[in-house]
């Protein structure tokens, strides 16, 4: 019987087997990734202000909405307020965090 060299054998195995896993990213991982990205973005200047974000048609969460309508300057409205939100903390540590309100990215990560 013809035998295969180890190299040829591995090539055949690799051709026959796709190593992909059908894994959904866990919600807490998405939350950590998003927080890290937002933090990185704020390091190099302000985020898009909540006024502008709203004007682009995005839904804001209840806390963002409060900041958006508050009589404060655009600089404050450009802060990454998720940094001080309990929803972020819960979402980064719990796969099924008890957060439910609309417009919050951390809530959206749980749904997808």
């Amino acid at each position: 019987m013809p035998s295969l060299r180890d190299d040829e054998f591995m090539e055949r195995i690799a051709d026959a087997v796709e190593l992909s896993e059908s894994a959904f990213a866990p919600a807490d991982l998405k939350a950590r990734v998003y927080s890290a990205l937002a933090k990185q973005q704020s390091r190099t200047g302000q985020l898009m202000s909540l006024t502008e974000t709203h004007a682009h048609g995005h839904q804001l969460c209840v806390f963002e909405q409060l900041v958006r309508i508050a009589p404060v300057g655009e600089t404050v409205k450009s802060l990454n307020i998720c940094r001080v939100c309990h929803a972020r903390v819960l979402a980064e540590h719990l796969e099924n965090a008890p957060i439910y309100w609309g417009g919050c990215p951390y809530v959206e990560f749980k749904k997808s």
Binding site: M1, P2, S3, L4, D6, D7, F9, M10, E11, R12, I13, A14, A16, V17, E18, L19, S20, E21, S22, A23, F24, A25, P26, L29, K30, R32, V33, Y34, A36, L37, A38, Q40, Q41, S42, G45, Q46, L47, M48, E52, T53, H56, H58, Q59, N80, C82, P105, E108, F109, S112
Partner: protein, 202 residues
Amino acid sequence: MRRLEQQASDQPQTISLRADEDLALVQAVLRKDRKATAEFVNRYSGHIYSYVRSRLAPQYQQAEDLVQEIFLSAWESLSRYRGTGSLHAWVMGIARHKVEDYYRERLRTPESIKDAELDPDTSTSVATIHQVLEQEQVRRNTQRILSALPEPYRLALIWRYWEKASAREMALKTGKTEKAIERLLARARAEFRERWNHAQSS
């Protein structure tokens, strides 16, 4: 026929629509639109996570760290995305580079595996392979054996045979000699095959 013509005429439009969507998302993320950034994470984290997990299994904790690194790296170079290819392919390209960096780092460290004897008799015939090529069983065996291999062996095999890197490329990237990489691959292949043959016989 009419439907085919319709499909043919629809296709470029769909592609250009997708390209427009990708560019719009990138521009919004670059403007630091927080909702677009969340959408970016939501859209690609599944694909990236799945890919990284398959390449690092069973080091799942490290897979999560690497996914975060990939996104941060994508953000750093996002301004260079021109929209010539799909954003998905672009992001996956970054993921591949990061996985390669991971392999490089791990294989650079001195090996702590005792040399496995290469047994010329542990050969598997073409006929046997064809018989065993019951896709699902082969896949399960491969994943199980890869997961159980010492890390340097596992990474070297995946890098060489699934990522299609040449021994020369691997040597250049790890700072080892090509001969050292060939030796590592030979030991890894022998170990894989021995376990494979053992799985077949038991």
